[in-house]
């Protein structure tokens, strides 16, 4: 990582861009369906969090970044964005399955993965905490003479209630950092609807209070997402300070794979907000971008094959072995006391 030729050169035409985004969305959906199936058959221990319904928003952000140059700090529903930014599909499979060969080596799991040395920090669970970390990475790049690196950080409607969100966005504005904060307003934080989360008309109204630019977009509409993030990332990159992008959409699944999301009202699911961005993008490809059903079916089966291969590889991987594990929390190994590495 950054790997895929796909991710490297942003395609010239809107149509090519749309198609490329669609492929990442499709791959993410296919992978996550598989991960959910593995969870339900007891093959994955711990939590499983899906980005169903948020793929267009997430992929569009990442596709407007430059892997190897920019920073992308995904959260729990950013499988599509992660891959579009260059995270290998194998990282996902290995981390969920606890492979010793994954980036987290079984020490951390599921969505708590990243490759910070490649511009993708590994999230901690505490919501909001990654935003200021991205600020710091941007500050580092400024110090190191890379002032046009953009840093994107993802968060949900619920995460905007954290003090960490506020402190980081305000600090980014004061430091005038090229930060793009993508708020996926999927109408729920776990089971909590937005009226118990905030009382403003629209979360984008927060932008003014920080002195940053705000953008709103229909998160089910891939083309709109691509455009909005193109603008926002460009503004950040060209010295206009932090950008706050709010995408309105619906989480098309439970909070985690353990949750059926029964509390999501039917009328919300039936509303335009409840449409599936992947399905809409597929229809749009057929209607406006010269795609044929055969071609799209081929993409489907290609995605299925990639997923199957990745999962099969990860399942053959060794699990971490506690007796071989270095139980040392410090990089300065000579400082670790032997007492600490004794068995409990």
């Amino acid at each position: 990582m950054p790997h895929a030729s796909l991710a490297d050169a942003p395609p010239a035409t809107p149509a090519a861009r749309f198609r490329q985004a669609y492929r990442w969305m499709l791959l993410a959906r296919t992978l996550e369906d598989k991960i959910a199936a593995l969870y339900h058959s007891g093959k994955i221990v711990g939590g499983v969090y899906l980005g169903r319904g948020q793929e267009a928003f997430s992929a569009s952000l990442a596709l407007n970044l430059r892997p190897g140059h920019d920073i992308f700090a995904p959260l729990i529903r950013d499988q599509a964005g992660r891959m579009a930014f260059g995270e290998p599909i194998l990282d996902t499979a290995r981390t969920y399955l606890g492979s010793a060969l994954g980036p987290m080596r079984g020490r951390d799991g599921n969505i708590h993965r990243g490759r910070p040395d490649l511009g993708m920090p590994a999230m901690i669970s505490h919501l909001g905490a990654m935003l200021s970390v991205v600020c710091g990475m941007l500050k580092a790049r400024q110090f190191r003479g890379i002032p046009d690196a953009v840093g994107a950080s993802c968060i949900g409607d619920g995460g905007t209630s954290t003090g960490a969100f506020h402190e980081a966005l305000n600090l980014a504005a004061v430091e005038r950092l090229p930060l793009v904060v993508a708020v996926a307003n999927n109408q729920f934080a776990y089971s909590t609807p937005t009226d118990r989360q905030y009382a403003c008309r629209d979360l984008v109204d927060r932008a003014l209070g920080y002195g940053v630019q705000g953008h709103t977009v229909d998160g089910t509409d891939l083309a709109a997402c691509l455009d909005t993030f193109q603008t926002a990332v460009h503004r950040a990159r060209t010295g206009h300070g932090p950008q706050l992008v709010v995408g309105n959409l619906l989480r098309l699944c439970g909070h985690g794979a353990h949750d059926d999301g029964a509390y999501v009202p039917a009328d919300l699911k039936a509303a335009p907000l409840g449409q599936d961005c992947l399905l809409l993008a597929r229809q749009r490809l057929l209607r406006d971008f010269d795609a044929s059903p055969t071609e799209l079916d081929l993409l489907d089966s290609q995605a299925a094959t990639s997923v199957q291969q990745a999962v099969a590889t990860a399942q053959r991987d060794p699990a971490p072995d506690p007796t071989l594990e270095s139980w040392q929390p410090l990089a300065s190994r000579w400082l670790v006391e032997t007492a600490n590495s004794e068995s409990p």
Partner: protein
Amino acid sequence: MSITYLEAIREAQRRALQENPEVFIYGQDIAHFGGAFKATKHLARDFPGRVLDSPISEDAMMGLAIGAAIDGMRPIVEMQFADFSSIAFNQIINQAATHFWRTGVPCPLVVRLPSGGTAGSGPFHSQSMEALYAHYPGLVVLTPATVGDAYWMLLEAIKLDDPVIFCEHKFLYYHLKADELPPESLPIGKARIVRHGKHASVVTYSAMLHESLRAADDLAKIGYEIEVVDLRSIKPLDTDTILASVARTGRLLVVGEAFPFGGVSAEVVARVTAEGFHLLDAPPQRLNARDTPIPYHPNLWAAHRPTASSIATALRGLLGF
């Protein structure tokens, strides 16, 4: 009828809501949804307006509880996981804990912390934070290990005029069942001798009680009688009961699931050696989790925290001294 540890917590809350109009519950996803672990299932329905979903704002949730407490209410705050109480840390240690001593006005509230490890939960959904809260003056810190204690200690905690950190163990939520609730329990501040023995004392609490009891079973097979003390209450700590046990056995192993540096197990050892040095026939030992973040993978996790088997090994070492 049988009742789980989790149900005991729910029933204690139900009873408190019933008996005392000053009680209300505040936390994420606790109303209609009944909480991430269902510890408040149906309570919002049965007590309208008194079980409230909060925004994801642990600092403000805690501040709200403190304000309500000093203004005459008895709030219960549910943290979704103990680990997220790090965001409420300042309000807990600096506002709640200092309030009575500074102003003379009590701050009666309970913070429920779903604590401890379960397989696959990883570094941020597994922590045991009792040592942090016990270090700061002004807090009562409780760690029930049985269904009965979960019920009675929570009820008593709600009645206390002080801020209480109530560490519930997530592993026990569903795994631990009792046939029925006991009619009463020991008061807060008293430890319980759960198993009598004469060769060594294991002092422990929360989920580690059950690992320790299994280790004691193991050692019974080779002829050792291990006394097991459940602290129940971390602060205040029942030094007398611990010392009495050490007086009987002469050997001490303190077992905790938290990180090894400082904390509860060190405190127990330091008290016993200061006040009961002459009672000890062998160096007192501690067994805690390893000094790394709590790993995600079940293999690593099992090697990170104490288990019946590693406790038994430590006991054999202690007995062979």
